[in-house]
Amino acid sequence: MRITQGTFSYLPDLTDEEITAQAGYALGQGWPCSVEFTDDPHPRNSYWEMWGLPMFDLTDPAGVLYEINECRKAYPGHYIRLNAYDASYGRQTTALQFIVQRPAEEPGFRLDREETSDRRVRYTLHPYALDRPEGDRYGAGR
């Protein structure tokens, strides 16, 4: 199941040129970019691991793409996303966020039902990927 989230969730995955163009747009707005990765695809997992610090003072998107590629090299089987923060509100505000890499195979989710008191049923989403230990969830990738 293809996981979608962020700004361009309804589009096919962006190519490197399109990623560069979007990063260029973000930098033109004065939004610093940062790269994050995770192998826990649950939609409520908003805290992805940071790939280095947010990149301040960049003027050209080549540097952003460079870090994305470095992260892809280190985590070929993880989800990687690009964030652009708009700091002008004085608090952490994500202005743009999209996935730039996803694992080759995404096993998807199952719905778990839990019987609780009074015949009530609670539902929860369980990503199949989470059955395996962290770092080992998407095959060959670390």
Partner: protein, 331 residues
């Protein structure tokens, strides 16, 4: 939903989630710097291109003229910059015919005494390369050893990479680059910075131009101990020291810019000052001229205040011989 911008979930079609943001205002962003837009047909082999027109379109003459006008002397430097500009211009035209000539290597090394205009030329170079479409942004990031080399293990690589990322799309100017390599300490982190630098200079030639600068003799020994660096730099440009009359012209340029002038009787004194100062140790060419003028301004202001009374435009802008004669150079 609240009207706070940027927070909370957005309905489809809400303005904050515009699907394809338009290019930033001002400079339109173009990925890559190819003069040939994708999909455009190359010119037929028999076509003719007007080079003069091409030259005017690139507005490169503005930068070259400014270089000539605002920088005195430096003939070998200007020649080389003109050659580079010509090469890039011709390459652009070649690309329109569909001839792929590869991207020329433009990493450079500026050597020369202090105050010979290395930084000023680098600044103009960045602007020039931008107009010719070689770099995308044309900004200059000027750094020294401190900005590249970390203080503990594992600190150097991220630091160097951050600087390189900041410089991408423009020119990275490394002042006194020989400090990166410390021969006396083989565990010095400078070596690590050099390695990363070399890697990026080689692999990301499209993204940035690296300019190393420093004094001639020390740069030579730096290159002797880092042969990889020397061979990756195509242009070694030497900045000659200024001649006395060039220094005088520089002084006049600086004073013009700051709204000062020399009284006629001050001219020989200024010339004399420069020739004396030039013979002294630690003479830093244009920088010393600037400092001399700064000090003359101090004395000029002090003289006006001490004299009292009312002053006119003439008094406020004219430097007199005593403003220079008080210098210890004449002592």
């Amino acid at each position: 939903m609240s009207e706070r911008p940027g927070f909370g979930m957005r309905q489809n079609g809400s303005p904050a989630a515009a699907p394809t943001p338009p290019p930033a205002a001002g400079e339109p962003f173009t990925p890559g710097a190819e003069p040939l837009p994708p999909g455009a047909e190359p010119l037929p082999p028999g076509a003719r291109v007007d080079l003069a027109r091409e030259r005017a379109d690139s507005q490169v003459d503005g930068v070259l003229d400014a270089l000539d006008r605002e920088l005195v002397g430096l003939a070998p430097v200007k020649t080389r910059i003109r050659e580079i500009a010509a090469l890039l211009l011709v390459d652009r035209v070649r690309a329109r015919f569909g001839i792929d000539s590869g991207r020329p290597n433009l990493h450079m090394c500026f050597t020369g005494g202090p105050g010979t205009g290395k930084t000023s030329v680098a600044l103009r170079l960045a602007e020039l390369l931008h107009r010719l479409g070689y770099v995308r942004r044309g900004h200059l990031v000027s750094v020294t050893r401190d900005d590249l080399v970390g203080q503990y293990v594992g600190h150097t690589a991220p630091k160097t990479k951050e600087v390189l990322k900041r410089a991408m799309g423009g020119v990275l100017f490394i002042d006194e680059a020989y400090y990166l390599y410390r021969a006396e300490n083989e565990r010095d982190y400078g070596q690590e910075a050099i390695e990363i630098l070399l890697q990026v200079m080689e692999n990301q030639r499209d993204d940035l131009v690296v300019v190393l600068a420093g004094y001639k003799d020390r740069m030579d020994s730096f290159f002797a101990s880092n042969p990889g660096m020397s061979s990756r730099i195509a242009h070694h440009i030497d900045f000659p020291d200024y001649e006395p009359d060039e220094l005088e012209a520089i002084g006049h340029l600086m004073m013009d810019r700051e709204g000062y002038g020399l009284a006629p009787e001050t001219e020989p004194v200024f010339r004399d000052y420069l020739s004396r100062r030039r013979a002294q140790p630690r003479f830093a060419n244009a920088r010393s001229v600037r400092n001399a003028i700064e000090r003359a301004r101090l004395r000029h202001a002090n003289r006006l205040l001490a004299r009292g009374g009312d002053v006119g435009r003439e008094d406020l802008t004219t430097l007199h011989p005593e403003d220079f004669l008080a210098s210890r150079v004449f002592g």
